[in-house]
Assembly symmetry: C2
Homo-oligomer: 763 residues x 2
């Protein structure tokens, strides 16, 4: 049977590669704009979009727009203090809202899944006696499909970007690559409702990943003090309507999401730092920490009320691993190599998984029905039905009966064909939300599962999880990984006889998750915080380090693969090691379109409309009259700023004729942020084209520059540390030679055979 | 009595201020070089030294010295992989050595203090019956003094920089300010032996702070692959002989130190990041994490063998808070405001403490015996004797007898005048190493202490700790703070009747420590890891945040005060908020001494010898012949590089005459690092003065530059993010206008009334 599966996968993989290039070409030929695209299709168009307007978005440097500088110079000490306080207030709000969302998701899932399992359980009990369990199976499948149908339709038709966990998108966002619509209100709604449906629908998915995305959306919304979708502007927090500030808040939101998901506030902060930040700023870190803390606390507070134990704050996250009592399950140093071995196994095991997932990803997403949301929904339904069927079959054929203890923790113990007072052990793993299954794998008494059950469960759940990953539903990959890891970890523990299986389940879960997401520091802290016990800190660390080292030797983590597939200009931590021989001269784009300090409106409109000048930043120069020499740099102006200027018709001639005209203010730029209109929507008459525009006041007068001999690692460091998007390359005389953008840097990549230049889509 | 104390303090404070300025003048008049100085005196001379040669040390940018660049260009992919592996190996070694040192300190302290308390206990028991307890007192005082004498002599006469915890010094080092001798082998030896003596000598100090310093020294030593003190060069790790790399390893060492001290590997990493790093690099963080992990593990492994329980790894740090069982002491949300109140109290309480400490610091260090190490030793002895006397008196007059339970945890229960089967409760606090006292405050049964005992203990210990701080002994401030906090926290817990006192002791300890050191994220993690229970995460966070917010409103943390007192050019996280109106033009030093690309040796020697050209970096320019215009920038060269060039006589003429002369290699720079000879030691003959030196090959050909209108926050960010030491300010034509150094930036400071310019020592 396994052979057949692999055979199918292999064929798919081949198809994938072929169709991949087809799709690629279709993108390159620019036809795909007109297609109704599904999630990944859209992602591809977006990635294409990135390369078309590599740096279409506002940027950190706009902080140095003269107007901003002027405002900041005018601001008093008190003003800065108020800003600082608003930042804390916003972080508090982010925490509270994220916590509430987590609370809502948790309660809804619990309610819906509870009803579902209760109905099915009663049905199974009824039909176990009289025969005709196939009706129970159908009931189960139908219920699953119903939930998944709702979730799938929302994702596929309303907001395809809400599919998956959203973590790769947030990673890109924090890296400085903006993906359109990723932090909108609609995305949040679809995400939240979608994840409730997916989890209640019994898919092999978790609700933790989407929490991170939700937190980020909340942060992006709250910090701007307005909702563009709802067309409401609260006239608050206007100072924060720029990319740097927004990004800081989004990291706080992501951290609050992690914190709510796992009850791990420190882990959340570390996640944000590990995945996003580059410049470690103490104050920012504290604010992120504050948001995380509030988020866990809010969730905790409301859940404790919901569970009827107000005031008991010991249940801080969506997933709760349950408490590991340290005394009963201490570890010994001779177990450490074993744990590390498990880490390595986790990875080796995962090599297959990832390959499958990649192929799966390619196959299901790019090839089969790139144009058809309805087919996506169908696939989701199919997976839901198959999941129910497989689960049912496994439970049906399992003969692993365990005595029902007096203090049993199982929520829905299925007796099925077991003797009275016993329950079906396979059902505790399958007939449950994944969170509960993980907990029972960690905590059930030794002997609750027999090895065959665990082995079968691991395999089937693994294939289900792989198939589920990449579906157009809103769902995370954390919990399935944990569950698979816990299952084979517990299996290891049982096979080792002397060992406590719960402990090995925990280690297995860590290994599996570490192998997939490749975080070490933050994941260690998250696991430690979720288990509520620091004793396991050291073994978890060792396992994660091993999984990471072994894993990185073979391939990148899941999120990185995801990001790479989308060809996003993602900047890693450091320039490739062997890139020292490259200099800015080789890397830069040249020639660059420059503007004069006082430029004709017609020229500006032409340049902005011309799709072949694909930059977002334009150096402003002073031309020496009657000379062919390249002009001297005097500033840098952004596409978005030019558009605002054009929209408000800030022309020299008009200013002269209409003296009373109100001066363009910072507010105009902020109101336009972040959805600047396209140049096509701005009408410029033929007369106006002859006018002149004075850019002096609006440009960034002190852009960062480098000499042309600067080495690539140095340029890279400047970009990464300062969050740049454009770097002007100048010669000895301060004349513009070229421009380095993210795309120019992201192109270089360290492959197996030294430095490789990625073939990026060229216009 | 309190009034008297305050009176004395006030007088001291006044004296301090007067004498402070005297001392300041003596420093300014440059007389103090000849004095045999004590710790802080030396620190002052050092700080003076900083301003004299503000940036006398090698710098991050030297990575861009052409020779380095050339080496890196020649290096293969494999070469970089080997480097990466050596980095991991070094981090492993750092972890192991730091763990071993921690283990050594712990075992020595336990042995010595154990013997001491055993002897005194027997003596007290003997004399309780027959009378004449004064003999016991004298014995106690003499034993204390003996230990402190050894420690004090070592610190005062051998290596004064080893005094205190060393954390401010390490903070400065990681910030980029190097303090001479701080990472030398001799410092390590004195520090380790000194801390053993101080703790065994019964002073109100801890052994945790010094561990951080020790870890840093180990890291600095191991990573260089040689010991300059021992004159051994292992010819290893030569690539790492530069500031950037060394600093990275030192952060790993500091983290390993924290990790060994508190059994908190994650806390260690966060400490390093919070106190040191600015650019968050994922790989670096993982290496730091690895070092921390190995360090805890090593300590754990050897301690478990020492304690006769090999394989039991549940004792990971020097200080062990003992295990808090979560079920017994859960907290309720209505307690949270209480906790936060305690955080605030911790701070208010601390306002006094810090004032006292500051005055104490000024008084004892600057005024009374700035010239006399022997007086320093005397003061240490006095404190040791007074500590013993006060402790004894407190125990003697205490009538808080508690029944000796069957499973009592007290190591040395003193019966004294209590009935048989009872012990003196005051003695558990005083007659013990501080670590054990903390643990008994956390864990002893409710009712083990009566409120009066705790109140008295808090007050006396507080005064003792304040007096002890600033003594010329090697000792940390963590444990005394924890102990004081635990005492008043437990007192709060007792007064609240319904509450569990142990829990409140923990919160009090967190509040006190947080108020003093002002770390939030790292301290939370450290506390959580040390208690071994995540349940307390949230309340500890809240307490620390409150302590931090309340505290910062009044004054900076202890370490920052310490650093500020030494007038070190320490760069904070961000430029002062209201400094936007300042530009590079106002901030920079001007005019700058520049060199020509081919410069006369005589000129170079003169410039380097001239003490009024106090810079370490010199722009290299191309002079347009027969023109008065400022010359165009073409590079930057460092004092240290020039000295190496002069030493090897790399003159144009000599190269021509001696064709066979070996070319200057990178190795020559590395061998000289980090102790470059002073210019005075290099002999240049009159003939040689007429030679020319070609700097082209050795200068950094692409130095970072900014236009003169760049705002201060932007210059600051560039400095902080890239770890710069020099930034050349140029005009439109790329001509050198000025030079910005750390000192220029560190000068600006946000005071109560807006931006203040610190009066720094001017030559």
């Amino acid at each position: 049977m396994l052979c057949i599966v692999f055979e199918i996968l292999y064929v798919h993989l081949k198809n994938a590669h072929r169709n991949w290039s087809d799709f690629w070409m279709s993108v390159s030929l620019n036809r795909s704009y007109n297609l109704p695209l599904n999630l990944a299709g859209r992602a591809f168009v977006l990635s294409f979009f990135f390369f078309f307007f590599t740096d279409v978005f506002d940027e950190i440097k706009c902080i140095h727009l003269s107007l901003f500088l002027e405002e900041e110079r005018r601001m008093s000490h008190m003003g800065f203090r108020c800003l600082e306080i608003s930042r804390w207030v916003i972080c508090g709000l982010i925490g509270i809202l994220t916590g509430l969302i987590a609370c809502f998701i948790d309660i809804m899932v619990e309610k819906l899944a509870g009803c579902k399992y209760q109905v099915i359980k009663e049905n199974i009990e009824k039909f176990t006696e009289v025969g005709g369990l196939s009706i129970s199976l159908i009931l189960w499948a139908v219920l699953n499909c119903a939930f998944v149908l709702v979730g799938g339709i929302m994702v596929a038709y309303i907001e395809p970007i809400a599919a998956g966990s959203g973590i790769p998108q947030i990673k890109c966002y924090l890296n400085g690559v903006k993906i359109p619509r990723v932090v909108r209100l609609k995305t949040l709604l679809v995400k939240v409702l979608g994840v409730i449906c997916s989890v209640a629908g019994g898919l092999a998915v978790g609700k933790e990943g989407p929490m991170i995305h939700s937190g980020a959306v909340v942060a992006a919304g709250v910090s701007q003090g307005r909702s563009t979708s709802l067309k409401r502007d609260f006239k608050m927090f206007e100072y924060f309507r720029r990319d740097t500030e927004k990004r800081d808040f989004v990291s706080a939101g992501a951290a609050a999401g992690v914190s709510a998901a796992f009850g791990a506030p420190v882990g959340g902060v570390l996640f944000s730092l590990e995945e996003g930040a580059s410049f470690w700023n103490q104050m920012l870190t504290w604010r992120i920490f504050f948001a995380s803390m509030i988020s866990t606390f809010t969730l905790n507070f409301f859940l404790s009320i919901y569970h009827g134990k107000p005031g008991d704050l010991s249940n801080p996250g969506l997933i709760n691993f349950g408490r590991f009592e340290s005394d009963s399950v201490a570890y010994y140093y001779y177990e450490l190599p074993l744990f590390m071995g498990m880490g390595a196994i986790g990875k080796v095991y995962l090599g297959v998984a990832l390959h499958m997932k990649m192929s799966k990803f390619n196959v299901s997403v790019c090839v089969r029905y790139v144009h058809r949301p309805c087919l996506q929904v169908m696939e989701a339904l199919l997976v839901a039905a198959v999941t129910a069927t497989v689960s049912f079959t496994m439970i049906y054929f399992s003969n692993d009966c365990q005595p029902l203890g007096p203090e049993h923790n199982e929520e829905y113990p299925l007796q099925l064909f077991c003797a009275d007072g016993e329950y079906n052990s396979m059902a505790t793993a399958f007939f449950n939300t994944p969170e509960r299954s993980v907990r029972s794998l960690f905590h059930n008494q030794p002997g609750s599962y027999n090895p065959l059950t665990l082995g079968l469960f691991t395999l089937t759940y693994f294939f289900l999880a792989c198939w589920t990953y990449g579906l157009a539903v809103s769902a995370g990959v954390f919990i399935p990984s944990l569950l698979i890891g816990a299952a084979w970890g517990r299996l290891c523990g049982i096979l080792l006889i002397w060992a406590d299986p719960g402990k090995y389940a925990l280690i297995g879960a860590a290994a599996q998750l570490g192998g997939i997401v490749r975080m070490t520091l933050s994941l260690t802290v998250i696991m430690v915080e979720a288990t509520g016990n620091v004793t396991y800190g050291l073994p978890i660390m060792l396992v994660l380090m091993t999984a990471k080292i072994v894993g990185d030797y073979f391939q990148e983590g899941l999120y990185d693969i995801h990001i790479k597939l989308q060809s996003v200009p993602f900047l890693h931590w450091e320039a490739p090691a062997t890139s020292h021989w490259l200099t800015a001269r080789e890397v830069m784009s040249s020639p660059v379109t420059c503007f004069n300090r006082i430029e004709k409106v017609g020229t500006i409109v032409d340049v902005l409309s011309n799709t072949s000048t694909n930059h977002n930043g334009f150096p402003v120069v002073v031309q020496v009259l009657d000379s062919d020499e390249p002009a001297k740099l005097c500033g840098l102006i952004l596409r978005s700023q030019l558009i605002v200027l054009l929209k408000h018709k800030v022309f020299v001639e008009l200013a002269r004729s209409r003296l009373s005209q109100r001066k363009l203010q910072l507010k105009d730029f902020r109101d336009a942020y972040p959805r600047f209109p396209p140049i096509q929507s701005i009408h410029v008459s033929q007369d106006e084209r002859e006018c002149m525009m004075d850019l002096t006041e609006f440009m960034n007068a002190t852009p960062y520059t480098v000499p042309q001999d600067t080495s690539l690692p140095r340029v890279f460091k400047l970009f990464r540390a300062l969050g740049l998007r454009h770097l002007v390359v100048v010669d000895d005389e301060n004349r513009v030679i070229g421009l380095v953008t993210r795309k120019d840097l992201a192109r270089y990549h360290l492959g197996k055979h030294g430095l490789e230049e990625l073939q990026l889509a060229q216009t």
